[in-house]
């Protein structure tokens, strides 16, 4: 077989000598390593990888070689250029990472700067507290009933077994309208209970009545002529005082935590019979402050109990006034003031703070309570 053209010796082309190729490659690698930033690296790239770089020029020489030498020289130059490319890429990654790290350091800010820019709003705790109560009772199946704040006396008093001579119907307790017959600012939300009974064709009626009520007291640390009340009314077949007690227990557990219960003490209200005053176990000391002067409790004055309000079985006379047969149906009702509950639940010391609308009072209560 005939040998390839051996008239040229690749070794004879100076630029393609293996030692020379190796040297050019090492120079490039050294230049890349010496580049300390991306600009320097770019210069080194142009010098060692550009069209006019020694290796590129060497590459061009390959064409002049005899065919037999081309392959070997091409392989050698290709390997050298590959190594250079690789070294460049690796160095570039290194330097980019360095640059990025530097930029991020330079871009750092003081994230503790205050940003009290958006105005802060909030809802009044009287509103959110009433909502919370409504949620407890709507979850049980009750509906929320509302009614007018200026109310007919028949609905505010008479139908509730508070006859014309009842002491609450005096100007000391009740706001009357000028030049009006039998119209008052409601003294409780009980008129809404009556309206609910009148609106229902027949019991069952299970309603909770939140709302603003009015009594002619001067504003001071513990009184306000305008306050909020929540009343509850349940009328159905076979309702008992035990049901009343259970409902109260459920409410205070929902609002004040597991294990808080109520107690009833006999009292008198015209619209309920039997009537009771309701107390709840103090949710702060749970009674442990009683007779324990070392651990006094401000919330309950170390009584162990907190007075909530009045309750009882709906007086059958009230049912009669609403056209409901008291022999078939019975009911229970209770009512209490939201302000008072808010005061002891959240340690509010002065009623005036609740009514004056100072935003510093309202904001800490946020959107729910």
């Amino acid at each position: 077989m005939s040998a390839p053209n051996k008239s040229y010796d690749p070794v004879e082309v100076e630029a393609l000598k293996p030692e020379e190729i190796e040297r050019l490659r090492d120079e490039a690698l050294a230049a890349f390593a010496a580049a300390t930033d991306l600009d320097a690296l770019h210069e080194a790239k142009v010098a060692h990888m550009g069209d006019r770089s020694p290796l590129a020029l060497a590459n061009r020489e390959i064409g002049a070689l005899p065919p037999a030498a081309k392959a070997e020289a091409g392989k050698r130059v290709g390997a050298a250029r590959g190594g250079v490319n690789k070294a460049f890429a690796a160095r570039k990654v290194e330097l980019e990472a360095e640059r990025d790290a530097r930029v991020l350091v330079e871009e750092a800010v003081d994230v503790t700067l205050p940003y009290d820019r958006a105005p802060r709003g909030g809802r009044h705790p009287l509103t959110t507290f009433a909502e919370r109560l409504m949620d407890v009772f709507t979850a049980m199946g009750y509906s929320v009933a509302e009614g007018p704040e200026v109310e007919a006396e028949w609905l505010n008093f008479d139908a509730l077994n508070m006859g014309p001579d009842h002491p609450a119907r005096s100007t000391q307790d009740t706001f009357f309208l000028k030049d009006a017959d039998s119209v008052v600012l409601r003294t409780h939300t009980s008129g809404v209970q009556i309206r609910s009974l009148l609106a229902a064709a027949e019991p069952p009626v299970y309603v909770i009545c939140p709302g603003r009520v009015f009594r002619s007291d001067e504003l001071d640390a513990t009184h306000t002529p305008v306050f909020n009340q929540v009343e509850l009314l349940a009328v159905d077949e076979g309702l008992t005082m035990a049901d009343l007690k259970g409902t109260l227990d459920h409410m205070v557990e929902s609002l004040f935590g597991e294990g808080i219960s109520t107690r009833l003490r006999p009292n008198y209200f015209p619209f309920t019979e039997p009537s009771a005053e309701m107390d709840m176990v103090c949710f702060v000391c749970r009674g442990e402050s009683v007779g324990n002067p070392d651990r006094p409790c401000r919330t309950c004055s170390s009584e162990g109990w907190i007075e909530l309000g009045g309750c009882g079985m709906v007086n059958p006379r009230v049912l009669v006034a609403c056209g409901i047969d008291p022999n078939k149906y019975s009911g229970f009702a209770f009512g209490f003031g939201i302000e008072r509950m808010l005061m002891f639940r959240h340690n509010v010391e002065d009623m005036r703070d609740i009514v004056e609308g100072d935003v510093r009072f309202t904001l800490p209560f946020g959107m729910e309570i």
Partner: protein
């Protein structure tokens, strides 16, 4: 009612170890509101003894006269020698018996006593006043004892200084507990002990020769007992024990006759009245007043009587308002001491009245004359008519015992016939009311314990005792059983409440509005609804404006604010002013609440019918009740002052502006699911150039904008205060627009900007409406991103720059399509508002 334990024990043999606290706990459980137990003399320590004043030396060299006394205290000081005591009081003389506290003792305070140097003398103790001994606050004078006590006698026991007193708030239904007799009865039941009823005393039968009495109004007075006592010693004083009991019960000892009537009232609950017989002219008559008749009452006030007042009269006219207060003319005379002979003259013949009056009549008279006397308090709540005779007898006995009188044999007792009231109840009704099984036997026993007569088996016929007029209905009897069995023993169960539907749409909406406004930086307030003319004047609301037609309160808290609000703004601006005044200068407030409007209400306004309560009112009657009420629509309002975005490291501050007020209205409308149309308007109290009228469709629902500078000034508000107010009822009248699930196109959006030059007077809302109409269905959204006024657009003109976004549901729009839509939009704007494209 204040009940001294020492007195209570007279009627119930309470175990010696039972403290006031124990009794309090038991009585509370039985339904008596025992508010506290006062510990009298708890820190008191003797020696405290009777002293006999032997000599008094007047020391005059000091600013006030001082006495240096020698007082015999028997052997109490261990020496038997007189005790030397310096004293500043002057209401005693040599020979008087006084109360002396010796060194080593401790008076209430606590206030330890020691011998001390004072006014140049050594004072070995003190001569005591009632106040110093904790007996009462009413006077500072030295106690002068009756002469019969031996010097050295222990005064702590003599004056009963150590005791416990129950303080009971008696509810309206338990009048009988305004007496020792009643509280003793409850105590006896609570401790299961027998009661010694003070009303069970011997009383001679009525006869015809007692004091003359005519009862002309038997409805007002169904019982009148009168007795007389003669030969009463006008100089006699109330014994110490009686004074002390009266004091501990919270009343003041006054004079023997008055003290005796008060004592018997406290003991038995029966108010009594004592008359000087010589001052009564003829028969005692009970009748209603003639309108305009006059009476000077015991308190010295001349009162004009009302035809409804029930009176006690004699031939000369009224001598008392029955059951409320006696007249000055017939009261027991103060004893007069003749300075020469020392003889005491005064009332010697006394007529005692023990009557029973209709509670309502007494209550009305007491209220009418503002005389909430102890007697009226009891009559109002119900007094035992059968106790009248015993009470009169007790008073007579005491006058005989302590005043040396002689009881006359005449006994007047006028009784109006009245039916016996009994109540039928099923024997198991208390069980069904309580939700707990007591059983017939327990029910009967408990009812008998409170004094009822009970007959029957399955159905009980119960006759309440005469002292319990409050027991009228079956449920009243249930309460007696349940309370005595213990409310604390009731089980705790839950009823089967039918499934509910949660809150109504209106209720949910108010929550959403509250959350939305609060989230946008406003703080909720709840203002009083009271307003006055002044704030309406300051707001510039003129006569004839419906907001001037207010609902007026007859008895307002403040006469400056006698009306109910017709708008939320006065309250909101008041709260704003308060916040700013307290240093919160950047503030945004909102309120949700009712206003009270009489515009558009009928002639029946304020005239509610008085309906019966023995049946359901008819539909017509309910409508009449409602027709008497003013309209009370729900509103939402907001006010803004200061900065919405304060100055900070991020840049310059931004004030709250009219636009935020309008935006708050939009926030509310969004929450309600309705769309709000804004139109330029002029409406008090807003700035005439910065007032937006807010519409839903063609219905005006409210206003928003900046307040009129004059209003800002007259209400002393921060400059450029802004406000918004919406009628929620009107806003939601048409119902919310139900959201339709939108079809989302994923084809690319084509954005085109356009700047239009229009006349300055042209409203942005009109330009926008024109662009929308012209752009057609390809327009996805449109946004005004710049408003420019300047030379390049010309005087009196402005440039409005809009970004229009076009998109089709089914294809990618070509540039030509988007441009065509834009040109059509511009053309429409040119037609409608004369807009020209900015070059």
């Amino acid at each position: 009612m204040r009940v001294p334990l020492s007195w209570l024990r007279e009627y119930v043999d309470l175990p010696a170890g039972e403290t006031g606290r124990d009794i309090q706990a038991k009585l509370i459980r039985a339904g008596l509101e025992v508010e506290g137990v006062e510990q009298l003399g708890a820190d008191l320590k003797g020696p405290l003894v009777v002293g006999h004043v032997l000599a008094i030396e007047e020391l005059t060299e000091f600013k006030k006269p001082i006495r240096y006394c020698q007082v015999d205290v028997g052997d109490a000081n261990g020496t038997g020698e007189p005790q030397n005591i310096v004293c500043g009081a002057r209401n005693f003389a040599v020979g008087d018996k006084v109360v002396v506290v010796l060194p080593g003792a401790v008076l209430p305070g606590p206030f330890p006593i020691a011998a001390r140097q004072t006014y140049g003398k050594t004072s070995e103790g003190m001569i005591c006043s009632a106040r110093e001994l904790g007996m009462g606050d009413d006077h500072d004078g030295i106690i002068v004892l009756p002469p019969e006590y031996e010097p050295g006698t222990d005064a702590i026991e003599l004056l009963e200084l150590v005791d416990e007193v129950l303080d009971i708030a008696v509810t309206a239904d338990r009048g009988y507990c305004l007496s020792l007799r009643g509280v003793a009865r409850e105590t006896a039941i609570a401790f299961d002990l027998p009661l010694r009823d003070p009303a069970l005393i011997d009383v001679p039968p009525a006869n015809s020769y007692g004091p003359l009495v005519k009862v002309e109004d038997q409805a007002g007075c169904d019982r009148f007992v009168a007795r007389s006592v003669v030969g009463v010693d006008p100089a006699a004083k109330s014994p110490i024990w009686m004074q002390r009991r009266i004091q501990k019960a919270g009343m003041r000892p006054i004079s023997l006759a008055v003290d005796i009537t008060n004592y018997v009232m406290l003991e038995m609950g029966q108010p009594l009245h004592a008359y000087d017989r010589h001052r009564i002219d003829g028969a005692i008559t009970v009748r209603r007043a003639n309108a305009g008749e006059k009476l000077r009452t015991l308190d010295g006030v001349e009162r004009t009587l009302d035809a409804e007042d029930l009176l006690i009269c004699d031939n000369a006219g009224p001598i008392g308002i029955a059951g409320v207060m006696g007249g000055a003319g017939t009261e027991i005379a103060d004893p007069v001491v003749d300075p020469e002979t020392g003889e005491v003259t005064g009332t010697s013949e006394i007529v005692i009245e023990a009557a029973h009056f209709a509670p309502v009549s007494i209550a009305r008279s007491a209220r009418r004359h503002k005389l909430p006397s102890e007697a009226a308090k009891r009559f109002e709540r119900g007094v035992d008519p059968e106790a009248t005779k015993a009470a009169a007898q007790r008073a007579v006995d005491l006058l005989v015992l302590v005043a040396g009188g002689t009881a006359e044999a005449g006994v007047t007792d006028i009784v109006a016939p009245h039916p016996v009231h009994s109540i039928s109840i099923a024997a198991d009704l208390p069980d069904r009311v309580a939700g707990q099984e007591y059983g017939r036997e327990t029910v009967v026993r408990r009812l008998q314990e409170v004094g009822c007569t009970v007959v029957g088996s399955d159905v009980l016929v119960v006759t309440p005792p005469t002292w319990r007029p409050d027991l009228t209905d079956p449920n009243d009897l249930c309460e007696e059983v349940i309370r005595l069995e213990g409310y604390e023993n009731l089980p705790s169960t839950l009823p089967d409440v039918p499934a509910g539907r949660g809150l109504t749409e209106a209720q949910r909406l108010r929550r959403r509005i509250g959350v939305a406004l609060a989230s946008s930086g406003q703080v909720e307030v709840q203002n009083y609804p009271f307003i006055g003319e002044a704030v309406l004047d300051a707001l510039g609301i003129e006569a004839g404006d419906p907001r001037r037609e207010t609902v007026k309160i007859a008895n307002p808290i403040s006469h400056e604010e006698p009306s109910l609000r017709t708008t939320l703004l006065p309250g909101l601006l008041g709260a704003l002013h308060r916040n700013v005044g307290r240093g919160t200068t950047d503030v945004a407030l909102f309120e949700l609440g009712r206003v009270f409007r009489v515009d558009g209400t009928a002639e029946t306004l304020y005239h509610a019918p008085r309906l019966p309560v023995d049946r359901r009112p008819t539909g017509d009657e309910i409508a009449q009740l409602d027709a008497a009420l003013p309209r009370q629509p729900y509103r939402v309002g907001a006010v803004f002052a200061g900065h919405r975005d304060p100055q900070g490291w991020w840049g310059k501050p931004q004030a709250w502006t009219w636009a935020d007020a309008v935006e708050a209205a939009r926030t509310v409308a969004d929450a309600a699911g309705v769309s709000l149309t804004v139109r330029q308007d002029q409406h008090t109290p807003w700035h005439p150039g910065r007032c937006a009228a807010l519409y839903v469709g063609e219905q005006l629902v409210g206003h928003a904008g900046e307040l009129h500078p004059r209003v800002v000034k007259s209400l002393n508000l921060p400059e450029r205060t802004c406000a918004m107010e919406l009628d929620l009822d009107l806003l939601t009248a048409g119902g919310a627009v139900k959201a339709e699930g939108p079809k989302i196109s994923t084809f690319p959006v084509a954005t085109q900007d356009v700047a239009l030059i229009v006349d300055d007077a042209v409203k942005a809302a009109d330009v926008e409406a024109a662009l929308r109409a012209g752009a057609g269905s390809l327009l996805e959204s449109l946004r005004l991103f710049d408003v420019y006024r300047g030379e390049s657009v010309g005087e009196g003109r402005k440039s409005l720059a809009y970004a229009l976004r076009f998109r089709a549901a089914d294809r990618t729009l070509t540039a030509d399509e988007a441009s065509a839509a834009r040109e059509s939009a511009v053309a429409e704007a040119a037609t409608r508002v004369g807009a020209t494209l900015r070059g």
